[in-house]
């Protein structure tokens, strides 16, 4: 279960987007799901000093603009970064 602390440990949060986002036109339910595995697991990465998680958030933000999504907030753990997006 979750506690209220989960509201204060974001890696990133966009308060302006959060306050101004209007989803009146977000009519469609079914999502599109894209999964790209560059390697079967982290062990297979040749140079582990550079991985997908080394890519700066700003680059992901720009990539997401192509998709028509914006970043509302991010939670990071030692194994993954979870982005919560607009739409």
């Amino acid at each position: 279960t979750i506690t209220i602390k989960e509201l204060t440990n974001h890696s990133y949060i966009d308060h302006e987007l959060s306050a101004t986002l209007d989803s009146t036109e977000a009519f469609e339910g079914p999502e599109k799901l894209l999964e790209i595995w560059f390697y079967p697991d982290p062990c297979a990465i040749p140079d582990k000093t550079k991985t997908l998680r080394s890519i700066p958030v700003q680059i992901w933000t720009d990539i997401l603009k192509l998709v028509k999504c914006e970043v509302l907030s991010i939670k990071s753990t030692k194994c993954m970064d979870a982005f919560l997006l607009s739409e």
């Binding site: 989803s23 469609e28 339910g29 894209l34 390697y39 982290p42 040749p46 550079k50 739409e87």
Partner: protein, 318 residues
């Protein structure tokens, strides 16, 4: 919508009129540029370890943008990037409830670079990858109303107090409250040592998205559009439920908990599983599971996909 970035893979799940596949070119460009990961073939196409693209049939396909109005156009676009992709339409295509999948063959060359010792440590995870997705329509009105908030949306020109701390962010606070009220944070029985992270947002005038992280490396994510007439909710998870719950739970139990929150009139379940021998969930799901007296099973389809098994089930309320 959600994006999950791991060291070795990304998962992007986007709602509405998003243009998901238009990120492909830039993703491969940046991965090559910043990480020096070059999976380009001589013909200019790409061969990463594996690619999956899937979606249920849209409710309003004509309102989608560009290639996303038509599955064949999406497949043609994907084939411009990948040489070894296969396309499937799963379920009944005459009722607008079917599910589409594009998947590439596994690029076994990606395994050659591996660190053997590291692989052995992570062998369980690699061999037991599984993903379950539950796509629900026709939500019970009372259940759907829990995801309506009608909070005030500020105009882009109004001043937003940048000193607001995260706890005062209304969309996230309401999302948190929705998660607690509906019990969506209690889908999995966690073991004593599990850790859990949560991020949710309540959209205005309605709608809800959440990302939950278990043990720092597994996620489950929910997206809800509760509008009357086209209400919809999705649940997707890569949590290895047996392992995380110390064998106290499987995906049939997870399914029942999710259905209790939304009570849809119709839903489909897809389950990708790498090792069906080790998956108690797969064995139970392919048997005649009892998910209560309310639902009738309409379809059960199994695909043998290269190194994964795919199970597709569709149910309707009686």
């Amino acid at each position: 919508s959600s994006l999950f970035v791991y060291d070795h893979k990304i998962t992007m799940k986007t709602c509405g009129t998003t243009t998901t596949l238009f990120c492909l070119e830039e993703v491969f460009k940046q991965v090559n540029l910043l990480l020096n990961w070059n999976c380009t073939l001589d013909n200019g196409k790409f061969s990463p370890y594996k690619v999956f693209y899937s979606r249920r049939s849209f409710m309003f396909p004509s309102k989608q943008r560009s290639i996303h109005r038509n599955w064949n156009d999406e497949v043609d676009y994907l084939n411009k990037f990948f040489t070894n992709g296969k396309s499937y339409t799963v379920g009944r295509s005459d009722q607008g409830t079917h599910w589409n999948l594009y998947v590439t063959d596994t690029n076994e060359d990606s395994l050659l670079n591996g660190d053997t010792e590291c692989h052995e440590t992570n062998n369980y995870e690699y061999n037991n990858d599984e993903t379950v997705e539950i796509l629900m329509t026709g939500l019970n009105h009372k259940c759907a109303d829990q995801f309506v908030c009608n909070r005030e949306v500020k105009s882009a020109t109004s001043s937003i107090d940048e000193k607001d701390n995260d706890a005062d962010d209304e969309g996230h606070l309401l999302g948190y409250n929705m998660t607690k009220k509906t019990g969506l944070d209690k889908i999995y029985h966690e073991s004593k040592n599990s850790c859990f992270h949560h991020d949710a947002f309540a959209f205005s005038p309605c709608g809800y998205s959440s990302n939950m992280i278990i043990d720092d490396k597994y996620y489950y994510t929910l997206h809800v559009t509760p509008e009357k007439g086209w209400s919809y909710a999705s649940f997707e998870s890569n949590v290895p439920v047996n392992a995380v719950s110390d064998n106290k739970q499987d995906n049939v139990d997870v399914l029942q908990k999710v259905l209790k929150v939304f009570q849809p009139t119709e839903f489909c379940l897809t389950f990708f599983c790498k090792n069906i021998q080790n998956s108690r969930s797969f064995q139970r799901l392919i048997s005649d599971i009892d998910i209560g007296p309310k639902y009738t099973k309409i379809d059960k389809i199994i695909y043998d996909l290269d190194d994964y098994q795919l199970l597709y089930l569709r149910f309707e309320m009686k």
